[in-house]
């Protein structure tokens, strides 16, 4: 007799059917860590090396193979981007049930959106932001756009390491594809459908996606600049007072018109670093008085020492025996 399945039992069975079939691989399933738009991430044990790694695999049903393509592309892209801010890929292949997978370093940390609650100081948050910028700028230098930057795609490890995750929507910049320079990243597998991420297809996350990306137009590194600007906004959203220079940086990085944004991630990062160091930022032109005051604040110690020296000399001159 057929048993009655509750709605929650159906969900569990769906999840069970979706769990990767690791027969014939060196991995043993430990638990499911999370679910993304493309597939699931599982904690698995690498029996050959006796360590735990994360295994990403597409969901059991992938009707048009777009997810399979994106997963393999993501693996290929990340494998070529060796940077401390980008999670390293260890291995990739096909499971016995035909689904593609890849394994990567198991990051034991928190998503930025959770982590930020434990970091009250603006300066500390901005240092995290700069490390995100480092990783993204590195990817751009290798011709790769992330296209889905948002707080939940950034992990912060227990030792403060910052990792940009989920490169599933990543894309090679047009000029890198055309040039096929040896330093640029190999795009990996060929798309099953060439229109999968071309003009007119909207991929990304509303709120963090640039206007041109939401319109389905072609994008360049300025789309990632926009997303970083949105992350900067997120990081400073709960502050009671946002310094004008920082507000100007935010505004410029999320400008509707991409020609008015920072043109590169380095430009954005440079302004944020200047702000942190108390230096002028390009997004916020200052008047002479403000600039003079900033100079005084920055050189306060030297000015005080100089004033003390001048005062001491004056006193010596004044009280000198005649």
């Amino acid at each position: 007799m057929t048993r009655l399945l509750s709605d929650s039992a159906i969900e569990r069975l769906r999840e069970a059917a979706d769990s990767p079939d690791l027969a014939g691989t060196r991995y043993r399933l430990v638990e499911k860590l999370g679910q993304g738009g493309m597939g699931g991430v599982f904690r698995v044990e690498d029996t050959a090396l006796d360590r735990q790694v994360a295994l990403k695999v597409i969901s059991v049903a992938d009707p048009d193979e777009t997810s399979s393509f994106r997963l393999l592309q993501e693996a290929h892209v990340i494998a070529k981007l060796e940077h401390p801010g980008i999670v390293p890929v260890h291995d990739a292949g096909l499971l016995s049930d035909g689904r593609p997978y890849y394994t990567m370093k198991l990051v034991q940390g928190r998503r930025l959106e959770e982590h930020v609650a434990t970091v009250p100081a603006l300066s500390d948050r901005l240092r995290i932001f700069l490390r995100i910028c480092d990783a993204v700028a590195f990817a751009h230098a290798h011709g790769v756009l992330h296209r889905d930057l948002k707080p939940s795609n950034v992990m912060v490890g227990p030792f403060g390491e910052v990792l940009v995750m989920d490169w599933g929507l990543s894309k090679l910049m047009a000029e890198k594809v055309e040039n096929s320079a040896s330093s640029s990243v190999d795009p990996g597998p060929k798309k099953p459908d060439s229109s999968a991420t071309s003009f007119g297809t909207v991929l990304g996350t509303p709120g963090y996606m640039s206007p041109e990306q939401s319109r389905g137009e072609s994008v360049d590194q300025r789309a990632d600049v926009y997303s970083l600007g949105a992350i900067l906004q997120f990081l400073s959203a709960d502050l009671s007072h946002v310094p004008r220079a920082l507000a100007a940086i935010r505004k410029q990085s999320i400008a509707e018109d991409r020609t008015k944004r920072y043109q590169t991630v380095q430009d954005l990062a440079s302004d944020v670093a200047h702000f942190l160091d108390g230096l002028p930022v390009s997004a916020y032109p200052e008047g002479r008085l403000t600039r003079a005051w900033r100079w005084i604040v920055r050189n306060g110690v030297w000015i005080l020492l100089l004033l003390a020296y001048v005062a001491a000399r004056a006193l010596l001159i004044f009280f000198r025996p005649r």
């Binding site: 007799m1 039992a9 399933l29 009707p63 693996a75």
Partner: protein, 248 residues
């Protein structure tokens, strides 16, 4: 990255040898046609009955009559011959046919008592009605969601029965019991593998392996059943995505 990594894995995972139920219902052989209809009815009668009860809010007796009438017409009027896989999924087509039947039944106010001129099928309505009482009524869902959810419930239920009997035949009853405990029973997921191992008197590593086997077989059977319930590769893939794809 191994060289053999390539797109196209999904095509390799689904069996393609079983005939589609639609092809089989159009078979010239009466027995084959009857078996196909039996399979279709066993998977769909509960979703149809519950759909009429939940979406159309019909009383128990009226829903029974309409369900009987629906399958009776499906067979006698060869409704499946009109199904065009390119235009809709079989599941959607059947739901729309049910909608049409209920609407027409409303219009025909002067009609004779339903059921008087249809071939009665042996369907266990008491069980279906009992299930409706046990499950929370989700009347607010849209018709497609209700029908999809009930079809998933029916299909998974049939797949579990097949898995149970296959495990029994292969001497792997414990594999099925582990799936039942861990993935079906409420609270099963709160148990650790060590707890489960102690309960069954097996090693923890065996829990992992047995459970993996049962899940793999369950997936295989569901996909196999689903293939028979769909008319084309594309429909099969879309249905697999709907029924097995996790929530996005």
């Amino acid at each position: 990255m191994p060289d053999d990594t390539q797109i196209g894995g999904m095509r390799q995972q689904f069996p393609t040898t079983r005939w589609s139920i639609i092809e089989r219902t159009r078979s010239a052989q009466t027995e084959e046609r009857q078996r196909a209809l039996d399979s279709l009815i066993s998977a769909y009668w509960k979703p149809v009955y519950k759909y009429i009860r939940l979406h159309w809010k019909r009383e128990n007796e009226e829903a029974k009559d309409l369900t009987q009438e629906f399958f009776s017409r499906l067979i006698e009027k060869n409704l499946l011959d009109r199904f065009a896989p390119r235009r809709a999924r079989l599941r959607t087509y059947l739901r729309i046919c049910v909608d049409g039947l209920v609407i027409n039944a409303d219009k025909a106010a002067q009609r004779l008592k339903r059921g008087g001129d249809v071939t009665l099928l042996r369907l266990d309505f008491e069980t279906a009605e009992g299930e409706l009482k046990e499950l929370p009524l989700a009347g607010a869902d849209n018709p497609e969601e209700i029908f999809t959810r009930e079809f998933a419930r029916s299909l998974f239920g049939l797949a579990l029965e097949r898995l149970r009997s296959e495990c029994a035949v292969n001497g792997k009853t414990i594999h099925f019991q582990l799936l039942e405990l861990y993935d079906i029973e409420e609270g099963g997921r709160q148990l650790t593998y060590d707890d489960v191992a102690r309960r069954f008197g097996i090693k923890t590593a065996d829990v992992t392996n047995y459970l993996a086997y049962a899940r793999k077989e369950f997936r295989r059977i569901v996909l196999d059943e689903l293939r028979t319930m769909t008319a084309s590769e594309e429909e099969f893939r879309r249905e697999a995505h709907t029924l097995l794809g996790v929530k996005l």
